[in-house]
């Protein structure tokens, strides 16, 4: 049989777009080289923070938060509020500048006094020079992404194939995708392969300037209650939250090693140590916590760090969605926009033309 659209990549983007397209009456099929939600969608630190989103993406992030809240317990959603901390004058300046812009862009971010901070988060270091707070911030459990979307796809009657890497794409009147389980035919094609977008687009002769960051996440043993909100740092080099079971999840985008093509990345001790040191500086009681596991995930981006969301250049009927920068938070929402666009409807907010010039600009 022939599908209306084949979607390569079964992460948040691929699955959520499939759901929107099915709502619009299309018959999609989702193909993943591994299992659903096992890439960045399933191994990130789960932070849902408006304080670490790019100013220009704030309208998307705000709507993304609403969708995570609706998904609720099934994805481990918690609206805990979040503090971002500065430990010296330079960081305080950075914090004030960045969070003011984000507040102007619509995020409910406020600056809090030291006294307020100590009442709300007594286990934080006393060396905080400035802090901001956002009541909308929180987290979800990224390891539930795969099972959540599997259930949603099944409920919607959407076809999906796992362990089904696409090895060649032939474009005649339709797309013919070669997979180990046979050829899949579809009228349209959406590339939503995250850090693997570049080799997938190359099969269509399109060079997407996609690079992958190798973000590190660690989890500690169960600890007594130390923090009830998400904790971040003015530089963005720390995100931290304590889960209901007492474990503390520590991220911040410190770089491990490896490439998507080589499979899983590896943790690097020279970046893990400063990551953990910063966490311990923020919450000194973490000094006695043992780290049980550290791992990495690949976060795709393009040179201007804006999303790829729109028609794939030079290939009629092909689309691309990825590199969102905050894709976990924004993914469910931008996928709706993408779905509307493919359905021929005007998206509620603008998409991001993958055929643009990618001129670098300061963040």
């Amino acid at each position: 049989m022939s599908y209306d659209i084949a979607i390569i990549g079964g992460g948040i983007m691929g699955c959520a777009t499939a759901l929107r397209l099915a709502e619009g009456g299309m018959h999609p099929i989702v193909l993943d080289q591994g299992d659903l939600g096992q890439g960045a969608s399933g191994v990130n630190a789960g932070t849902l923070s408006l304080q670490i989103k790019r100013v220009q993406l704030m309208p998307y992030a705000l709507r993304g938060h609403d969708l995570w809240a609706q998904m609720g317990d099934a994805v481990g959603f918690h609206k805990s509020g979040g503090y971002t901390l500065a430990f010296n004058a330079r960081e305080a300046e950075l914090l004030t500048e960045r969070q003011t812009l984000k507040a102007e862009a619509g995020a409910p971010i406020e600056f809090v006094s030291n006294a307020q901070l100590r009442r709300a988060a007594p286990n934080l270091t006393q060396n905080v020079v400035a802090a901001s707070y956002c009541a909308e911030d929180g987290y979800a459990n990224s390891s539930l992404t795969g099972q959540y979307y599997r259930g949603r796809l099944q409920d919607a009657g959407i076809a999906y194939r796992t362990h089904s890497p696409v090895t060649a794409i032939d474009k005649t009147t339709a797309f013919e995708l070669a997979t180990p389980q046979g050829t899949v035919r579809a009228k349209r094609l959406l590339l939503a392969a995250g850090a693997w977008l570049k080799p997938v687009a190359a099969m269509l002769g399109v060079d997407l300037p996609v690079q992958a960051r190798v973000n590190t996440v660690s989890v500690t043993e169960r600890m007594p209650p130390l923090m009830s909100s998400v904790i971040g740092h003015a530089t963005g080099l720390l995100t931290m939250k304590q889960k209901a079971n007492g474990t503390v999840l520590i991220g911040g985008g410190w770089q491990g090693r490896g490439t998507p093509q080589d499979g899983r990345g590896t943790v690097a001790s020279d970046t893990l140590r400063p990551n953990l040191a910063l966490a311990q500086y923020a919450v000194p009681s973490l000094g006695s916590a043992r780290v049980l596991r550290s791992w990495t995930g690949f976060e795709a981006n393009v040179p201007d760090f804006y999303p790829l969301a729109g028609a794939l250049p030079h290939v009629a009927g092909a689309y691309v969605l990825g590199c969102v920068r905050g894709g976990y938070t924004i993914g469910p929402y931008i996928s709706r926009l993408m779905g509307d666009f493919i359905l021929g409807q005007e998206p509620e907010l603008p998409l991001f033309d993958p055929g643009r010039a990618y001129t670098k600009e300061p963040t």
């Binding site: 043993e221 169960r222 600890m223 007594p224 209650p225 007492g246 043992r290 049980l292």
Partner: protein
């Protein structure tokens, strides 16, 4: 599959009894077995207190290095009893 606890069944000397202490109590086990197994056989199922919550008594659950419910202190370090090989004269204390 992940195997955090090596299979060293052949290393366990069932006839070779060794002594160790748990919070000062003198106990006996078999050389080469896991500390968690020796404590279990000596009747000590309650190995630590929960870090928080209303179910304070905790004991070895997974026996494979994941659950952290058998964490004990040895020579100033917190270690999992299930991943610690029993040796003669081991001094074991509860995590405080």
């Amino acid at each position: 599959m992940i195997r955090l606890v090596p299979n060293h069944a052949s290393k366990i000397k069932r006839r070779d009894k060794v002594g160790f202490t748990f919070d000062g109590l003198r106990l006996e086990g078999r050389r080469g077995e896991s500390l968690a197994a020796a404590l279990l056989q000596a009747g000590h199922l309650n190995l630590r207190t929960a870090p928080f919550g209303d179910a304070p008594a905790r004991g070895a659950f997974c026996h494979m290095g994941i659950c952290q419910e058998c964490a004990v202190r040895i020579e100033g370090r917190t270690v999992e009893a299930c991943r610690t090989e029993l040796t003669d004269g081991l001094v074991v204390e509860r995590v405080s």
